[in-house]
């Protein structure tokens, strides 16, 4: 009987507070997804190649979890505090009818638990489904066969989600209900009145001049923060960083604190000539901003954080080309004899398709008489050709790299051709006195300019001789190990190469696995098996898979965690804003009733509320967007490598699109809620 009562009350709460309930479900889904990260297929695979880094990331997840729990606690406390206040009359009646305080406490906790259980029952299946979907998509993106897909539920993630969520709710609710059950019944019965009187007595009687000054000061602070961010953030000085953050936060708070009086002045100026519900709409908005400036500022800052997280996360996910060309599967270094003897052994032979030496070395010449390195090389011809291109940041970077680089790597032509043959590409043919330029796939940002510059076949100077550069730029990886990247190198004929390379210890050998074997077992399985055999041999080697895994890990870890944080911040910010708005609307419903009695139709009231919602969200979003522009700008400036400008714009557009879609969904949802509330007003009479 008591339980039925709890169930009935819980249903009512869910119905009346749908936005909050929805936010709870979304946070459960997010919890599960982040907590099950360790058991996702891609992570399970990464653990085998990069166990140290993965373990460090997995250590970080509990911290993310704790931060999210804190935010959820804030949300639960804030939403329920209000919910309970609205029901205090009801609670007062229960007490007057003889309900014991302990029973009232139990009742409130019971309702919380029941609603929590329902939220979990809805959220967890969705979380499991989404996790599997993400797992499947990452496997697909990385390439079928590299990572096997397997259905799995993370029991630890599930447990932590359930426990964390329930515990946070219980703690937040026990704070609220303890405070409540200590009150006398008469206070509870009267509580609503008290609340409405508090609303009647807003703080805005404080001199508006002062708030105007605050507004101005806030704007100045924010602009200072923006300016500092653009000018100095790239220096990565933590003191400057702290200063920017503090000035920015203080500026945002002051801006919202002063905004209310600006709206008031605007209404007064416009109000006399206005028709319809303009004044009503404007004053409602003003009251919202005046009473809730702190929440608005927090929401705005949270949105800035989430925007920055989104841009970083999405650009990490998109910009790193994971499926870049695979040339060799393994690269060995060490003594030629040893390596070949292992590769031709009975055990390994069936796996090996072919192997070839990769001759790779510095262009250097040491003068033993003078005991110094000789200046043997310059890119001057190429630099000249590049400097004719139109101005761009990439060009400036390239030029400075070329002038400081006087000892590039050399690649022997025959090795490179061996490699090309193994991936079924036509070999390079160099004319006399011709060399070719090589630049690793990693350095795409300069490739367009280089290709242009190479069209004029510029000269380079090697030990006093001029060689012309071939008009093609070569970028296919020379070794399996992706940790070795060559920014700019030369592919030179073997006789020229041999005049420089006189060292024995730099022997490199590439090996390619048998196609039929990969076809049969999948690349991952095949590599595992070979890996096991090679491990026993004690050879020094790198595989394509482990070097790619390292990259993959940084991508997954970087994008996963930042997108997760971005979503959490955005949800909390929007839910707080939405709830604040709906609360104000509920506590001022008598005003809507009065305006209806004075002749406003329900449609025009709904319209007024919709305009209020758009402006209310719009103000916060506008400030957040402006701050985000500067935030992202300085981030792009600070980490140009992870967010290159070429893709940066696409990333920003995608992040913005995601953000706008989420915001519009939220606004529409709040509007629907507000319409319902206003229509209820009509039915009540």
């Amino acid at each position: 009987m008591f339980f039925d009562f709890i169930k009935r009350n819980s249903r009512k709460i869910r119905k009346e507070n749908g936005v909050y309930f929805g936010a709870l479900i979304i946070s459960i889904i997010a919890f599960y997804i982040i907590l099950s990260l360790g058991e996702q297929d891609v992570m399970a695979y990464l653990k085998t190649v990069e166990s140290n880094a993965v373990n460090r990331l997995l250590l970080m997840i509990p911290m993310l979890y704790a931060v999210s729990l804190f935010f959820v606690f804030f949300l639960v406390y804030f939403a329920n505090n209000y919910q309970v206040k609205l029901r205090s009359h009801e609670f007062g009646l229960y007490l007057m009818m003889g309900m014991k305080r302990s029973r009232l406490f139990l009742m409130i906790m019971g309702e919380t638990l029941w609603n929590g259980a329902i939220a979990l029952m809805i959220g967890i299946p969705i979380g499991v489904f989404l996790t599997e979907l993400i797992s499947l998509i990452t496997s697909r993106l990385i390439g079928i066969g590299i990572i096997g897909y397997q259905y799995s539920i993370s029991w630890a993630g599930l447990g932590l989600t359930v426990v964390g969520f329930i515990v946070v709710q219980l703690i937040a609710m026990s704070f609220i209900s303890l405070k409540l059950t200590r009150k006398e019944p008469v206070d509870l019965l009267d509580d609503q009145k008290e609340e409405s009187q508090r609303v009647l007595n807003p703080i805005w009687s404080i001199v508006s001049l002062m708030t105007g000054a605050v507004l101005l000061l806030g704007t100045i602070f924010l602009c200072t923060a923006y300016g500092l961010a653009i000018l100095y953030l790239r220096n990565l000085d933590y003191r400057m960083f702290a200063l920017i953050i503090i000035v920015g936060i203080v500026g945002t708070f002051m801006l919202f604190r002063g905004l209310g009086s600006l709206i008031g002045a605007w209404i007064k100026r416009k109000g006399k000539s206005s028709a319809g519900l303009f004044i009503f709409t404007g004053r409602q908005l003003q009251e919202n901003v005046l009473n809730q400036w702190a929440s608005l500022a927090i929401s705005s800052l949270l949105i800035v954080m989430s925007m920055v997280c989104f841009v970083y996360g999405i650009s990490t996910a998109l910009n790193n080309d994971l499926t870049s060309s695979k040339t060799a599967d393994f690269t060995f270094s060490g003594s030629e004899k040893e390596i070949i003897s292992v590769l031709t052994s009975d055990e390994l032979e069936p796996y090996v398709k072919e192997y070839y030496e990769m001759k790779l070395g510095y262009l250097w010449r040491f003068d033993p008489e003078e005991n110094e390195w000789l200046d043997t090389f310059s890119w001057s011809g190429l630099s000249e050709s590049v400097s004719k291109e139109v101005y761009s940041k990439e060009k400036e970077n390239l030029l400075s790299e070329l002038t400081t680089d006087n000892r590039p790597y050399l690649i022997s032509l025959s090795s490179y051709n061996d490699m090309l043959r193994s991936v079924n590409k036509p070999p390079i043919e160099l004319g006399s006195d011709e060399v070719a330029m090589y630049s690793d796939e990693e350095f795409t940002y300069s490739h367009d300019i280089l290709r242009e510059a190479l069209q004029s076949k510029p000269y380079v100077n090697i030990v006093g001789n001029q060689y012309s550069l071939s008009s093609t730029l070569y970028t296919l990886n020379v070794v399996a190990d992706r940790a070795i990247t060559l920014s700019y190198a030369l592919i030179v004929p073997d006789d020229l190469y041999d005049t420089f390379d006189d060292r024995e210890d730099s022997y490199l050998l590439n090996m390619v696995l048998d196609d039929a074997l990969i076809e049969e077992k999948g690349l991952m399985q095949a590599m595992y098996e070979v890996d096991g055999l090679l491990n026993a041999s004690g050879l020094d080697y790198e595989s394509y898979l482990s070097s790619m895994g390292r990259k993959l890990f940084f991508t997954v870890a970087g994008s996963y965690t930042t997108i997760y944080l971005g979503i959490m911040f955005l949800i909390i910010a929007n839910t707080v804003m939405g709830l604040k708005f709906l609360m104000q609307q509920k506590s001022t419903r008598h005003r809507y009733f009065t305006v209806a009695m004075l002749g406003a139709s329900v449609e025009s009231l709904c319209m007024s509320a919709r305009v209020q919602i758009w402006l209310y969200f719009g103000l916060v979003i506008l400030v957040a967007l402006i701050s985000s522009i500067f935030g992202i700008w300085s981030m792009v400036d600070t980490f140009p490598n992870s967010i290159s400008l070429n893709n940066g714009i696409g990333t920003v557009v995608i992040s913005l699109a995601v953000f706008i879609i989420i915001e519009i969904c939220y606004i529409l949802m709040i509007q629907r809620k507000s319409d319902e509330e206003i229509k209820k007003l009509k039915q009540a009479r």
């Binding site: 609303v199 009647l200 007595n201 807003p202 009687s205 109000g271 000539s273 206005s274 028709a275 319809g276 519900l277 303009f278 004044i279 009503f280 004053r283 409602q284 003003q286 009251e287 001022t588 008598h590 005003r591 009733f593 009065t594 305006v595 209806a596 009695m597 004075l598 002749g599 406003a600 139709s601 329900v602 025009s604 009479r685």
Partner: protein, 260 residues
Amino acid sequence: MNISNKLLQVKGVHKTYGEGQSETSALKGVTFDVLPGEFLGIMGVSGSGKTTLLNCIATMLKPTSGEILLEGQSISSFKGSQLAKYRGSRIGYLFQEFELLDNLIARENIVLPLSIHKENSKNQELQLQNLAKQFDIEDVLEKFPYQMSGGQKQRVAAARALISNPSIVLADEPTGALDTKNAKVLMEKLSFVNQRNETTILMVTHDANAASYCSRILFIQDGVIFHELRKKVPGETQNAFYERILTVLAQLGGGSRHVL
């Protein structure tokens, strides 16, 4: 009497709440007319149906049967936008709890009905000043309701009810939340507006003192009109009328103690 002479006609209005066994009748066939320029009072004990009647006339409730005509038009059958047109422009309201919007200053509160009906005219400012003068609220026009006294609030509310020159003002216990002095001021102002501008007022009240400003009073009991009093014009003093009201109240359901 010609129909056009009757401002408001209430014809056989019934109102029942609930269904089946729980059905209760609040109004059991109420019929009366209001003439232009009248100051009509409606009195009755709690549960007599007087608030239901006012709510029906105010278009807040639909009668179960019967008709209510304002200037010959049946307002009880109006819906949606037709209703909205009448509210605030043809009918002015005065509530017991003032119902001012507490986030609007007095001036904005008063002209709100005009803005809603998009009737902002050049005369608006003049009209506003006139009303402010009549109700002695010129000092508070730029103030928010929480900066005013109860009496000032109700006078601002009265100015709001009158700004659109409505055909009739409906007042629901307008003195209910005021002290004696402020109640007296308000009733004097309303009475003045009624006499000078011939504004028709229909007022529901418990308060015999307030009712003594009316020109006619209907007493309602158990959903029917039970008695009617008219102030004798000219000649009868307000005090004499007051005494007569008290006498009727004493007869109503065993005395006035029920209503206080």
